[in-house]
């Protein structure tokens, strides 16, 4: 330490040196290159290897993409156009098949005149999802709803939708946009109604069925109110019993009679006609929405103190997780007729949805069980200390935290399930990847076209699955409450 009273020491510098620019190796591009690509021989080798891979991919695939043809009606015509434009022997993609067979890839063998129905259902999916997935930010909600509304309405116009349904679509979107501004939770009502609406619009039939199903729930609710005066436990069970009784014994006949009295039917569409991405998304969305609650119940059952309940849950979960999905699909296709009363036959798509749901629910249960186990025991004890009963403790304290911990696992289960929808090809359903592409190739015009359909279908699966995983990362960040 120099003492200012004694004057400056000779070896101390009086004034600052002028600032020098950093050495060339330590700034900008050069520094970045040196640090990230050429910091040592191994690193440099890896860089060269990486460049070789990139060059290989570019060299092999770029010309093929660059020479792609989007406008042709058959593969030979495609090849002729490529040969004329780029010279004999040039390779090129023929994406014209996507353009030509677009409707088949999206709707399968759905009647062309009715394409607007699944389109409307798909558009309304975003309205139903808005209060669930985009509840945090009003801006994002606005963007999602606006985009969905505009895209859906434009497609509906292009698909020659009857004007009355166009009006209904406009009304739903307009109301949804307005409601989403201030009271987005009201939209949850639409989300609850959406599955029924979607099923009705896709499969068609009489609207009275939907009304009767809702009526059954209404009776159940009445029973809940009335029995609730006597005892809360009785209320729940009587609601369930009454609803089931109404559905089993009353709804069917009532719907038929009402339909005869005043028809509210739209054209029925067979399950075999449903294919393409319509089928994949239908199975995926239905499986996702049903497997999460079922998985939660299974996870709670497996952790239950009741021996019988937990062992039943263990047997169910381990059995489902121990067999391939494809065997379960075979059960749905071949064996379900044995297990049901003689003479019953029900829809193959529904059977597949049930199996896919059970399959995903078993995996979901394990993911959620992990989340439950990761929760500190203090949380359970605190809930008990507050005097909460089992369901209140689960609903208010345990599940919100456990589900938050398990978000990554839950979403990967969803992604896995959506990818697994391709397996329904093996029970004869027209999913886009295999059976639709085979159907396209079965035609003489597109015989021998492999890569373009694969790339198209793969790209759509990639977009959907990748956005799901990005969304889960976003959700994790938004829900993070601790500052780790």
């Amino acid at each position: 330490m120099s003492n200012p009273n004694h004057g400056p020491d000779a070896y101390l510098r009086e004034e600052m040196l002028p600032e020098m620019p950093p050495p060339a190796r330590e700034t900008g591009m050069v520094k970045w290159l040196h640090e990230n690509l050429f910091s040592g021989p191994v690193n440099a080798g890896l860089t060269v290897l990486g460049l070789l891979i990139v060059w290989f991919l570019f060299d092999h695939f770029y010309p093929w993409f660059a020479h792609s043809v989007w406008n042709a009606s058959s593969l030979p015509e495609c090849r002729k156009i490529i040969a004329e434009t780029w010279g004999e022997g040039a390779g090129g993609a023929c994406f014209a098949v996507i353009r030509e067979r677009w409707n088949q890839y999206i709707y399968g063998f759905y009647p062309p005149g009715l394409y607007w129905r699944p389109t409307l259902v798909f558009g309304l999916l975003f309205v139903a999802l808005a209060p669930i997935l985009f509840s945090i930010s009003r801006n994002i909600r606005r963007i999602v709803l606006m985009t969905a509304a505009i895209a859906t309405l434009l497609s509906l116009v292009a698909l020659n939708t009857p004007s009355i349904w166009l009006g209904v679509a406009v009304a739903i979107f307009a109301v949804a946009l307005l409601v989403a501004e201030r009271h987005q939770m009201w939209l949850l009502g639409f989300s609850a109604f959406y599955p029924l609406l979607g099923v009705w619009l896709i499969w068609g039939g009489s609207f009275w069925w939907i009304i009767m199903i809702l009526a059954g729930m209404g009776f159940g609710w009445l029973a809940f109110i009335i029995a609730g005066r006597l005892s809360p436990l009785l209320a729940g069970s009587s609601a369930i019993v009454v609803t089931l009784l109404v559905w089993v014994f009353l709804s069917g006949d009532a719907a038929k009679d009402a339909e005869n009295l005043y028809s509210l039917a739209i054209t029925r569409v067979d399950s075999e006609a449903i294919g393409g991405f319509l089928l994949a998304i239908t199975i995926g969305v239905a499986g996702i929405t049903m497997s999460l609650p079922l998985g939660i119940v299974l996870a709670l059952a497996r952790r239950s103190d009741m021996f019988l309940v937990s062992s039943l849950a263990v047997i169910f979960i381990e059995f489902i997780r121990g067999v391939p999905l494809i065997t379960l699909l075979f059960v749905a296709q071949l064996l379900l007729n044995y297990f049901l009363p003689p003479g019953t036959s029900f829809d193959i798509v529904l059977r597949v949805i049930i199996m896919v749901t059970l399959f995903a629910a078993a995996y979901m249960a394990e993911v959620i069980r992990g989340g439950l186990a990761a929760l500190p025991a203090g949380q359970y004890e605190a809930a008990d200390a507050l005097g909460l009963d089992y369901w209140k403790a689960q609903r208010l304290i345990v599940l919100p935290q456990a589900l938050k911990i398990s978000i990554p696992g839950i979403v990967s289960t969803f992604i896995g399930m959506f990818k697994d929808t391709t397996l329904v090809a093996f029970v004869g359903l027209y999913e886009p990847l295999k059976n639709i592409s085979d159907a396209v190739r079965a035609n003489i015009e597109w015989k021998g076209i492999y890569w373009e359909p694969f790339i198209f279908v793969g790209a759509i699966f990639f977009i959907i699955c990748f956005s799901m995983s990005r969304y889960s990362m976003y959700l994790e960040r938004r829900l993070q409450r601790d500052n780790r």
């Binding site: 990486g50 121990g322 071949l334 064996l335 044995y338 699966f461």
Partner: protein, 418 residues
């Protein structure tokens, strides 16, 4: 603490079955039991009635009838005159074969990619990230179909390898030929073949294989013993004897001697006439399925490995360096043991997934358990109930065995809590 004998002196009332927590769970379980029994009875009763209506019964006698179909890829001798039971076993062995090959290759690929993704090299890490995301987000079925299309459409027939200036040339030092009908790989040959022993049921095992297995397992046990002795000496005297060359010798010398004794060599496939011979002509269905399962599962394993290494906090590395450990010792003694604990449980489920996904063999016609018992046998005999139930049980047992084995391994590397 004062004891409050709640309810102890209250007489039992019926409503306590519902309102008293001690009895409520019993009530609930009794209800669940009755419901499950009723459901089970309903299903069994329906099945009996349906079977009776179809004039069928539930019996596994068909397993002993003549199968009458051929299986191109098999590990044990099989002909179409054999029983359905033997076909089922051939299929099960094929499932085990593809699962084992897939698990080994996917682990190697996944570890390599996972570590490459952690590399400081910007370009290489990005490329690996793209690989992982692309393979994880696209269905396995698509990869199987794409690789199958490459094998059937892009690869040439065997005679493209013919001539002085062939259109295609063999890869891996002229050892492997890819064709659209099969993949020709080298086979093992022995100039001093010790012959085979018969295990019964027309299953034979070469004595040389048994000799190699004995030598490798023996070498491994000897290595454990040497390491334990070295540890004991270190504990006693503080000096650890140098063991690496003894270990190396114990592990390799007997095998080398056996190779020399049996005259083991590779027989490269050669084009003779229209086909390759001399080597092994692998069924393309097997190769396609193996590649697809490896590439797909490898992407998942890469993420598991990366997550495991990232889960070891940086402080551990720094502490190891502070203790004066070198980077290699740090990796072996500090990072890997901790990362393994994170890696192994999800790795087990990836192995299980791969085994179950091998049933996608249906897409390429590889005759695995589903292809034999759940496919041709089921179709031919019309015994779908028995076949599918039996197939599911076999898959279940297979999964349980894999997870039991891997869980035992997991316990051995788990943190020993004191």
């Amino acid at each position: 603490m004062t004891e409050v004998p709640l309810g102890a002196e209250q007489p039992f009332r019926l409503s306590m079955l519902v309102y008293d927590r001690r009895y409520r769970s019993m009530t609930f379980q009794v209800i669940v039991f009755i419901l499950v029994m009723a459901l089970g009875w309903w299903l069994v009763n329906n099945t009996i009635r349906n079977l009776a209506a179809l004039g069928k019964d539930f019996n596994f006698g068909f397993l002993f009838q003549r199968a009458g179909y051929d299986i191109p890829q098999r590990l044990i001798p099989y002909s179409s005159d054999d029983t359905h039971l033997r076909a089922t076993i051939v299929g099960l062995l094929n499932t085990i074969l593809i699962s084992f090959m897939g698990c080994v290759a996917a682990t190697i690929l996944g570890v390599a990619i996972g570590i490459a993704r952690l590399s400081h090299n910007w370009l290489f890490a990005r490329l690996m990230a793209i690989y992982v995301e692309v393979f994880r987000n696209i269905p396995l079925l698509l990869w199987i179909l794409i690789i199958y299309a490459i094998f059937t459409d892009v690869l040439p027939p065997p005679n493209a390898y013919r001539g002085d200036d062939p259109q295609w040339s063999m890869i891996f030092f002229d050892q492997v030929a890819l064709t659209n009908r099969y993949t020709a790989v080298p086979a093992f040959g022995m100039s001093n073949d010790p012959g085979t022993i018969d295990l019964g049921a027309r299953i034979t095992v070469n004595l040389a294989l048994i000799a190699f297995l004995v030598v490798i397992i023996g070498g491994w046990i000897a290595r454990r013993a040497i390491l334990a002795r070295a540890q004991a000496i270190q504990d006693r005297t503080g000096h650890r004897p140098v063991t690496w060359w003894i270990n190396l010798a114990v592990m390799t010398v007997p095998s080398v001697l056996l190779i020399w004794y049996f005259g083991l060599h590779l027989l490269a496939p050669e084009l003779k006439g229209f086909n390759f011979s001399g080597g092994n002509n692998l069924n393309n269905a097997l190769v396609v399925l193996w590649l697809a399962l490896t590439l797909y599962t490898g992407a998942f394993i890469a993420e598991i490995v990366r997550g495991g290494v990232l889960a070891v906090s940086k402080g551990q590395t720094e502490a190891a360096f502070a203790l004066g450990l070198r980077p290699k010792a740090t990796m072996n003694l500090v990072i890997l043991p901790q990362a393994l604990r994170v890696i192994i449980p999800p790795l087990i489920s990836q192995y299980l997934n791969l085994t179950k996904n091998s049933s996608l063999a249906i897409a390429v016609g590889y005759m695995d358990l589903r292809g034999t018992l759940g496919g041709t046998t089921q179709n031919q005999t019309g015994r779908e109930l028995e076949s599918i139930v039996l197939m599911m049980l076999i898959y279940l047992v297979l999964s349980l065995i894999i997870s039991a084995g891997m869980n035992a391994f997991n316990r051995s590397v788990r943190l020993k809590e004191r």
